[in-house]
């Protein structure tokens, strides 16, 4: 048993930390720290800075132009990114489609798409969920019918995150209705400029514009845009879901949020005393901190297993449940720590050059919105209930 990182890993962490201190633009860090919305330009700007350093593809193997880092280094990198309040690297191309193409794509597909998802040419979005296919993803109905050298795609995708900026969408489509629902699904890459595609925004309860509906009407997709074999798409989709395993718990982000909450609770006063010393509030903060400490060890256990070449099973689902519940509790406590001021909706206070006066303390303009926004975390990426089904299936086996 050794809970410590190696000397080499410690030095690597320092290198990442030092580089981020030098290269992360202050305006981006400020936005991320205060949970203010990022523009497309913000995200692309940061992506290109990382790309120039060679760290954008931090989770890719060296043969595809990645860093070749193992799970532990990837984790350290992600943690330091979170501590520095760097904008998150959008997962759709780099973390989701990329690995699928590396494993199942043709050489041509790899050569064409992989560089373009790095250099800002292609913004990818994910076309999985449908109005009638949420947790029961395999029941999806968007149909792709072969017509010569093309598929003709008709249907509707939903919850398409940042689809309003996207150049391309990777879609699960139905190519067969024979056999089990999972056996008739294919994995298609679709250019968003193709006629027949319409993106309609969905406004979320926090007022945000993050997700969209994507309507597809007689969309012509060249057959060479099929990934792997027809009707094998479910296998690729599952591979994609299990690929992301080093950061599913969001340890770094939650540690960062906890530190921010502690600072807030030390500054907020109740009866002339810091809120952090209120016994009820202190107890809730302590409980979530302990949950986070435990989860951090669980996460390191999974990481050590992955580093040794093992593939975590039920633990990934456990970390998804725990990580999202901890995140949610932190947003709840942050909202509560703001008292009356959590009612105010004053996004202008996040703007550069805003001179006050602030209603809520600086950096906490939208705590209630953030709280509501985070309700999504236990729903997306396999809801808590689906994760519990998976845990049960893997361990009890029924």
């Amino acid at each position: 048993m050794d809970l410590n990182f190696t000397q080499e890993e410690v030095e690597f962490r320092e290198e990442v930390r030092g580089w981020l201190a030098e290269n992360l633009p202050a305006d981006l860090a400020r936005k991320v720290r205060s949970d203010a919305p990022l523009t497309k330009d913000d995200m692309v700007r940061w992506q290109l800075i990382l790309h120039e350093k060679g760290w954008l593809t931090y989770s890719w193997p060296a043969e595809f132009g990645g860093t070749g880092w193992g799970p532990v280094k990837q984790f350290i990198f992600e943690e330091e990114m979170a501590y520095a309040c760097a904008p998150r690297i959008l997962p759709f191309g780099l973390k989701m489609l990329g690995p699928v193409l590396m494993k199942f794509g043709t050489k041509e597909q790899q050569d064409y798409y992989l560089p373009r998802m790095c250099d800002g040419t292609h913004w990818w979005c994910q076309g999985y969920s449908e109005p009638g296919a949420g947790s029961d993803l395999a029941s999806l109905k968007t149909a792709a019918v072969r017509d010569g050298d093309h598929y003709i795609v008709n249907g509707q995708k939903t919850w398409t995150t940042l689809g309003q900026h996207a150049d391309w969408i990777f879609c699960l489509v139905r190519t067969s209705t024979d056999g089990k629902p999972q056996e008739g699904i294919s994995f298609l890459l679709i250019d968003m400029k193709t006629p027949g595609i319409e993106v309609r925004p969905i406004q979320t309860i926090d007022g945000g514009r993050e997700v969209n509906e994507v309507w597809l009407t007689d969309v012509k997709v060249p057959v060479e845009n099929l990934v792997g074999e027809e009707n094998k798409g479910w296998t690729y989709a599952k591979y994609l879901l299990t690929h992301e395993r080093t950061n599913i718990a969001g340890v770094g982000k939650s540690n960062q949020e906890l530190a921010r909450l502690k600072e807030l609770a030390a500054n907020q006063k109740r009866n002339g005393k810091p809120l952090a010393e209120d016994p009820f509030f202190a107890a809730r903060m302590a409980k979530v901190e302990i949950a986070l400490m435990n989860m951090e060890i669980t996460n390191l256990r999974v990481l050590a297993q992955a580093e040794a070449g093992g593939s975590p099973g039920a633990e990934s689902s456990m970390l998804k449940i725990l990580g999202t519940e901890i995140e949610q509790e932190l947003t709840d406590l942050t909202r509560r720590a703001l008292g009356r001021s959590a009612q105010a909706l004053t996004p202008e206070a996040d703007d550069q050059g805003f001179n006050g006066p602030y209603v809520a303390p600086e950096g906490f303009q939208n705590a209630s919105g953030v709280y509501f926004n985070h309700r999504k975390t236990t729903i997306y990426g396999g809801s808590t209930e689906i994760q519990k089904n998976i845990i049960n299936k893997m361990i009890v086996g029924l």
Binding site: M1, A283, T298, M318, Q387, K388, N389, N392, I395
Partner: protein, 364 residues
């Protein structure tokens, strides 16, 4: 990072596991827990012979371990089989205090299983607070005379001596008191075992360590005890986990095995996930024994808090998922559940340790 035990510790775990599997039937343990002396002395001696006690002490004290992960490995194995031999109460805790006070002969006898001591620290009014000490020690010509009362001293009957905390003008100190100097009112405990109320009326005592150094010595012992209890609880949880999985796979109602019902699947998933968190808490605490100050105190408090919370969840949920059968004395599960719950009543419950965690956070 490395999350597997050393070969030596794995061998130790295997040895204990094999012995208990072959030679430690639960029925005998349950029976012993309801009668005097509350455990099976022959088993205790056999465990000592196996090296179970020696593993808890470092080499310079006559053992071959003594680190946090040694303690964790031993007690996790004992927990799996619901062992109620007083390895913690009569060996680990008093032994570490006696070793710190330079009583090497006594420690040697403890490691050999030839002598048993008990710590008598908590008082009836104290609710886990080891510094809430009303027992007094007065200096006599050649020693000390102690007067006061100690509560729920586990496995006190038959001990060769007691380590008693008492107050002098310089604060709390620890004293070694002979078994003939105390009076005991002995009783069974809910989880199967024995304890006693201990009273002192001018009992002759020998000062252990420096006068006034008692609180620090007690805290050192408490950290070890908390780790041992947490690891024991983890072992118990694993057995409960296996029993519950087996039951969900075999018990039929409405024509199907009950593990097919999602209401139970989700309860079970929650329990499985929390047990992994308990394991992480124990690993963290075992590691923390080599740390110091507020960091160590916080991690150990966090572990006992976690064990208290998760222990209750596992006890209650496993009974609920089993249904009526788990309510019977005859079925094994209830005995494991009782020990899990009662562990929260030793060395500070979850609220006590949550408060401790917060207190040391302010200090940090």
């Amino acid at each position: 990072m490395e999350f597997t035990h050393t070969d030596t510790r794995r061998m130790l775990a295997d040895t204990i596991d094999r012995y208990l599997r072959d030679k430690y039937p639960l029925a005998a343990r349950v029976e012993a827990g309801t009668t005097e002396p509350g455990f099976q002395p022959a088993q205790y001696e056999a465990l000592a012979e196996l090296g179970v006690i020696a593993a808890l002490f470092p080499e310079d004290q006559g053992g071959f371990g003594g680190e946090g992960f040694d303690i964790a490995v031993v007690f996790e194995e004992l927990g799996k089989r619901l062992v109620n031999e007083p390895v913690m109460d009569n060996a680990l805790v008093p032994g570490s205090i006696l070793a710190a006070a330079g009583q090497s002969d006594a420690v040697e006898n403890i490691i050999a299983g030839a002598a048993r001591y008990a710590l008598a620290a908590e008082e009836p009014q104290a609710l886990y607070d080891l510094t809430d000490v009303e027992t007094r020690a007065e200096a006599t010509g050649d020693g000390w005379a102690l007067t006061g009362a100690k509560s729920v001293v586990k496995y006190a009957s038959g001990c060769d001596g007691f380590i008693v905390s008492a107050r002098t003008d310089k604060g709390v100190s620890l004293f070694l008191v002979g078994a003939d100097q105390v009076s005991l009112r002995d009783y069974v405990t809910v989880d199967g075992g024995r304890a006693a109320e201990l009273t002192l009326d001018g009992a002759a005592g020998q000062l252990l360590g420096d006068e006034g150094a008692g609180e620090a010595m007690l805290q050192e012992a408490a950290d070890r005890a908390v780790l041992a209890l947490s690891a024991e609880a983890l072992g118990i949880m694993q057995t409960v986990r296996e029993m519950t999985i087996e039951y969900l796979r075999t018990r039929k109602q409405f024509g199907v095995v009950i593990g097919k019902f999602q209401a139970l699947q989700h309860r079970m998933a929650e329990m499985l996930l929390e047990i992994e968190q308990a394991r992480s808490a124990v690993i963290n605490a075992a590691n923390a024994l080599s740390l110091s100050g507020a960091e160590r105190a916080r991690i150990i408090a966090a572990a006992k808090y976690s064990i208290g919370r998760i222990g209750r969840l596992v006890a209650e949920e496993s009974i609920q998922m089993h249904g009526g059968i788990a309510m019977t004395w005859e079925y094994d599960l209830g005995h494991f559940a009782k020990r899990l719950i009662l562990i929260d009543h030793e060395w500070g419950d979850q609220d006590f340790h949550l408060a401790r965690f917060i207190e040391h956070g302010h200090a940090a």
